[in-house]
């Protein structure tokens, strides 16, 4: 599957969630784009890594009707007890997905045009009020800035509040384009120690910290920082460093703590990938982070 190029009029989307309440203010629709420069070990959305159609299997609901076996052009599809048919030459043609009565076989990833996204988002226009709107999420939505920027313009002209939820590992040019064209940025800050960052996400954080500083300066009051707290990754020292960095930002962005949840783990299995090895109790770390951030006078949003 070819990735969406910068001038494409369509993007690979893996989900659109309406009545979303955690991705910015108000009632929102969150559009999830595929494709991400990072590979965070704890990622909740592994189907977002690369653009394209991907087969997800949920063997626990399979009723063993073998409808998939009867349509698979390679003859490989079948109930989980007989192998999942994904190995080898599977072309992800989707024939098995179409016939599966239990939705035990699902296809994730579809190409949507800007117009299609716009129309879907506008279905909930009456519920957005003054503060609600749309959040582009991912994956990394800003990788496809040239796709989303014109849609964002169109939506803002309709009075929608437009946000991206970004990992901030994006080209400088995009970082600079954002303040003028979006209402709010939700940026992740995962780790301050750059080596650790490289180890856990596949990239160092030089660009990320620069982007956050830039947005703090250029869009005061319109930046929220999300800090994921992951057992085995974050410790007290790291949390203090994160708090210390955030305290240096002059426009006091909203800070949110996102505790690790095992919610996304089943997706790895469904995609035929191995689960992230995250072990440990997140609650004490979250408590610690809350205390540290409050002590450092951060603008902490509490749920």
């Amino acid at each position: 599957m070819e990735p969406t190029g910068p001038n494409e009029r369509a993007a690979w989307i893996f989900d659109v969630q309406r009545f979303s309440v955690h991705d910015g203010p108000g009632i929102r629709t969150t559009v999830f784009l595929q494709g991400c420069p990072l590979r965070c070990a704890w990622c909740q959305n592994p189907e977002s890594f690369t653009p394209g159609r991907q087969l997800m299997l949920f063997p626990e609901v399979c009723m063993e009707c073998r409808a998939c076996s009867s349509v698979c052009p390679l003859g490989g599809a079948g109930p989980p007890t007989e192998g999942d048919g994904r190995a080898g030459a599977c072309t992800v043609c989707g024939a098995c997905v179409e016939v599966c009565p239990m939705a035990a076989r699902q296809m994730v990833g579809q190409k949507m045009s800007g117009q299609e996204i716009f129309e879907l988002v506008m279905r909930d226009r009456p519920f957005y009020g003054q503060d609600g709107g749309v959040t582009f999420c991912g994956g990394e939505p800003l990788l496809q800035w040239r796709f989303i920027a014109p849609i964002a313009d169109l939506m803002r002209r309709q009075g929608l509040h437009v946000t991206v939820d970004t990992c901030a590992a994006v080209p400088q040019q995009t970082v600079e384009a954002v303040p003028g064209r979006l209402d709010l940025v939700l940026a992740d800050l995962k780790l301050i120690d750059s080596e650790k960052h490289l180890h856990w996400t596949g990239q160092d954080n030089t660009g990320i910290l620069a982007a956050i500083r830039y947005w703090d300066r250029e869009m005061p009051g319109r930046l929220w920082i999300s800090v994921p707290i992951i057992p085995g990754v974050h410790d007290k020292e790291e949390i203090e460093k994160i708090g210390g960095f955030l305290a240096t930002l002059k426009n006091e962005p909203v800070v949110r703590i996102l505790p690790f949840e095992r919610f996304g783990e089943s997706k790895y299995g469904a995609l035929g990938m191995s689960k992230p090895a995250i072990v440990g109790d997140v609650e004490p770390l979250v408590e610690g982070a809350r205390t540290v951030f409050l002590q450092q006078g951060l603008n902490l949003m509490v749920y």
Partner: protein, 807 residues
């Protein structure tokens, strides 16, 4: 005690948390007092705490068989009396006999029937209470738990013909409609009243009796004479009842040591003494009289669903003049309303009070009392069937108060959109000023107080059953009977099938209309309503009973049960058989006849892989629109017996619960097996994935509610975690505003989780406060029958299967 006080204080604290928002909002033009401030400072009188507790335990519930005995005596000993006088005589004698139960802590006096259950099938242990009170309708039942003397007297009804039996020959002839759970057309219903209590509040008992005497001196026919005499007898009974309540209160006052309680009882007694002849002079008197006025109605109606009407409008003049004269502070008024709500609370109240909305000119009419009733319900936690009328110019501050109370999770208040409802009424034969004065009746049925009869909830059409018969050559899948001989076995295409189905729908509705008209015609001869005629505008002047076409308007509200199952089913038939040709019609029929046994793969495919109503799918929305339009269109040009119009409604109370329709409806193409719940009103089918709240609300607004002036019931379950905090509050405001901007007509919201409800089943004593919203009413959860409790839990749990929000 202390625990309860802490509870109240914490509620009051929570309600105070909105202060900052309210302060920011200067749009308080029509709301003069900020009651949020007021209740924050108010430590509710500890007596109301005791009172709430006593009331929830039904300590003051009146014996239901007192009325039963009196009715027996009147029908037995005065058999020659014209029926309208019989009815009045029963009411008057009840008022002369029934013990005025006065709890010393209360301010509003008079008996109550708190345990009266609403609708059959709910709260089984209390079901006998209504029946025994109305033997002239229900006859005699050996199983009633009665004192021996009462039993002997009521036995008179054994094997006697009652009002209900055999009155309408056309219904008997078409008993198959009910037998096969297709429809239940009725031209008269139990309960469901919406009188103009303002007539009594304004004139008082003495003046109305004088008007009747004067009218009797004019030219009157014999029936008019009887009618007027009957109306007078009701008023006489009420006058005596006022005095009896006063006497009881005085007796208690004499025995009372606590000086504060003594004074309170004496004041209550004086209040009632005045009302025996004069109109109320103050707010307290008005509350007491409107309570009495409704109680007279209760002595005459064997069903449910009574209404106070637009109570904030009715009481406002008294409130205003008390404030102006300095007799009353807003705090006093708030306390009185708290006492009033405690007084009228019931296990399944379905006693409607309406606040908010527009005036006769279409201007906002929200006033202090609109807010005060909401705040009082919030503070006392006595959930009554409070309805709020909203419109595009509803003050933002009031909407926030409403939303805050909604979020408390009582399942009340329910919310009405004036912008749609008024317009829908104007499109019938209702004058604009009257349309703007509508109020919900009991549950959500729309009527015009004192200007319409109360025929509503008629028809109860089940579209999935019609489709079942059409798909199976006219055969009922449950009994195997061939109901219609001339339904084709095969259809060339979906359009032919749809035409046949619609033709059958129309035919059933035409038949239903005729049955309803016969009911209307015979009702005055069986169950005239002299008291309601007193409270109907022009009632005394016309001297014609309310049931005989006296009111200005004579509509009949006609219900369609539910939307989801028929919309899903039609879609499945079209998609599977005719578009995709995945199965043949015969194969689908075989699956349905086998109750899906042996076809689990196909059934699961239908449930999991095809879009369903509530997910905002354009094709399903279009079917919902088309089929509800078709339903409404079938009544065009039809007249009720007294010349009014049929008002289409969507209200699925009868579907599964009341008439036990689920087991009488075979497997449906939507993937539902025989016996499984049929979705009510706009609720999604319980099986399968469901749309989120906004998708659900958008799906619903695919329907053109301007064609449903009779009202709709729209209960939605919302995950409470999605509307927490101040942000959540704003989201809820936006959700409500958005739904109404899209043309939504009514909504009530439940914020429940299955876990709490299960816990309440295990420990009912700890969850007496838990009220849940059913189709049209709020009910005390622990007092529902296990069957109904399960259906509530099923609904709540299926709502939680909506996709999780957030990334």
């Amino acid at each position: 005690m202390e625990g309860r006080l802490t509870e109240i204080t914490s509620i009051v604290d929570r309600s105070g948390s909105m202060d900052s928002v309210l302060d920011e909002d200067k749009n308080l033009a029509t709301v003069e007092h900020d009651f949020t401030e007021l209740t924050k400072g108010l430590d509710l009188d500890f007596r109301t705490e005791i009172l709430r507790d006593r009331v929830r335990r039904f300590e003051d519930d009146a014996d239901p068989f007192v009325r039963g005995r009196i009715a027996t005596q009147v029908y037995r000993d005065l058999s020659d009396l014209p029926v309208v006088l019989k009815r009045a005589e029963i009411m008057a004698r009840v008022l002369e006999t029934i013990q005025p139960v006065v709890l010393p802590e209360e301010k509003i006096l008079g008996a109550v029937y708190r345990r009266r259950r609403v609708h059959e099938g709910i709260s089984d242990p209390d079901a006998w209470r209504v029946r025994v009170a109305f033997p002239e309708q229900h006859g005699y039942d050996e199983r009633w738990p009665l004192p021996e003397a009462v039993r002997q007297e009521l036995k008179w009804w054994a094997n006697r013909k009652t009002d209900r039996q055999g009155a309408n020959p056309l219904r008997q002839k078409n008993a198959w409609l009910a037998k096969y759970a297709i429809a239940n057309p009725h031209g008269s219903v139990n309960g469901h009243t919406l009188p103009d209590h303002g007539i009594l509040l304004e004139a008082g008992i003495g003046e109305l009796r004088r008007q009747i005497a004067e009218r009797l001196e004019g030219v009157v026919t014999d029936p008019q004479h009887n009618q007027l005499k009957a109306m007078d007898r009701c008023l006489e009974g009420l006058s005596i009842y006022c005095l009896r309540c006063a006497k009881t209160a005085r007796e208690q006052a004499d025995q009372m040591d606590d000086p504060a309680l003594k004074t309170r009882l004496e004041e209550a007694a004086t209040n009632c003494e005045t009302l025996a002849s004069d109109p109320p002079t103050d707010f307290y008197g008005a509350l007491q009289l409107i309570f009495f006025s409704n109680f007279v109605d209760l002595t005459d109606n064997p069903g449910d669903a009574y209404s106070y009407g637009r109570i904030d409008r009715l009481l406002y003049p008294f409130y205003r003049s008390d404030l102006d004269s300095g007799r009353l502070t807003p705090e006093d008024a708030f306390e009185l309303v708290c006492y009033f709500l405690i007084k009228i609370w019931g296990a399944q109240p379905s006693v409607n009070l309406t606040v908010g909305g527009v005036d006769e000119h279409g201007e906002d009419a929200t006033n202090d009392l609109s807010t005060l009733f909401l705040e009082a319900m919030e503070t006392t936690e006595m959930t009554v069937d409070l309805s709020v009328r909203l419109h595009r110019n509803t003050p933002e501050a009031f909407l926030r108060t409403v939303t805050r109370v909604v979020r408390k999770g009582f399942g009340r208040p329910s919310l009405y959109n004036d912008d749609v409802t008024v317009e829908a009424l104007i499109r019938t034969d209702i004058e604009a000023a009257d349309a703007r004065d509508y109020a919900p009746l009991g549950c959500v049925e729309v009527m015009i107080p004192g200007r319409s009869a109360y025929r509503t909830m008629s028809m109860g059409l089940s579209l999935p059953k019609v489709l079942e018969l059409v798909l199976n050559g006219g055969r009922c899948l449950v009994t195997g009977d061939r109901v219609w001989e001339d339904v084709p076995e095969q259809f060339e295409n979906f359009e032919t099938l749809l035409l046949e189905y619609r033709k059958r729908v129309r035919a059933i509705l035409e038949l239903g209309v005729e049955i309803i008209r016969v009911d209307e015609k015979i009702e005055p001869g069986i169950r005239p309503r002299p008291w309601l005629t007193v409270l109907s505008r022009g009632g005394i002047e016309d001297a014609v009973d309310l049931t005989a076409g006296q009111p200005k308007y004579d509509p009949v509200g006609v219900t369609l049960d539910g939307v989801a199952d028929i919309v899903n089913s039609l879609y499945v038939v079209r998609k599977l058989v005719f578009s995709d040709e995945r199965v043949t019609l015969d194969e689908l029929r075989d699956a349905l006849r086998a109750n899906w046994e042996g076809y689990e793969g196909l059934r699961q495919y239908v449930i999991n892989r095809l879009p369903r109503f509530g997910q905002d799918d354009p094709e399903l929305n279009a079917i919902a629109r088309a089929e509800t339009d078709h339903y409404a269109t079938c009544f065009e040009g039809k007249k009720t017996f007294y010349g009014g119009q049929f008002w289409p409604m969507i209200f699925g109370v009868s579907t599964s619960l009341i008439y036990g329709r689920a087991p009488k409806t075979g497997a449906t193409p939507s993937g539902r097996c025989r016996g499984e719940t049929l979705a009510m009103s706009f609720q999604p089918s319980p099986a399968g994935p469901q749309g989120c709240a906004t998708a659900m609300l958008r799906s619903i607004t695919a329907i053109d509610f301007l064609k449903f002036p009779g009202g709709v019931s729209n209960v939605q379950e919302i995950d409470p975690s999605l509307v927490q905090g101040e942000d959540g509050m704003q989201r809820l405001v936006n959700l409500i505003r958005g739904f109404f901007d899209l043309g939504g007509m009514e909504v009530s919201l439940n914020f429940l989780d299955g876990k709490t409800l299960r816990e309440a089943q295990q420990n009912p004593d700890r969850h007496r406060h838990l009220m849940v919203r059913l189709f049209g009413l709020s009910a005390q959860f622990v007092n529902l029958s296990p069957k109904v409790q399960e259906s509530v839990i099923e609904r709540v749990e299926s709502a939680s299967r909506r996709p999780l929000s957030g990334g």
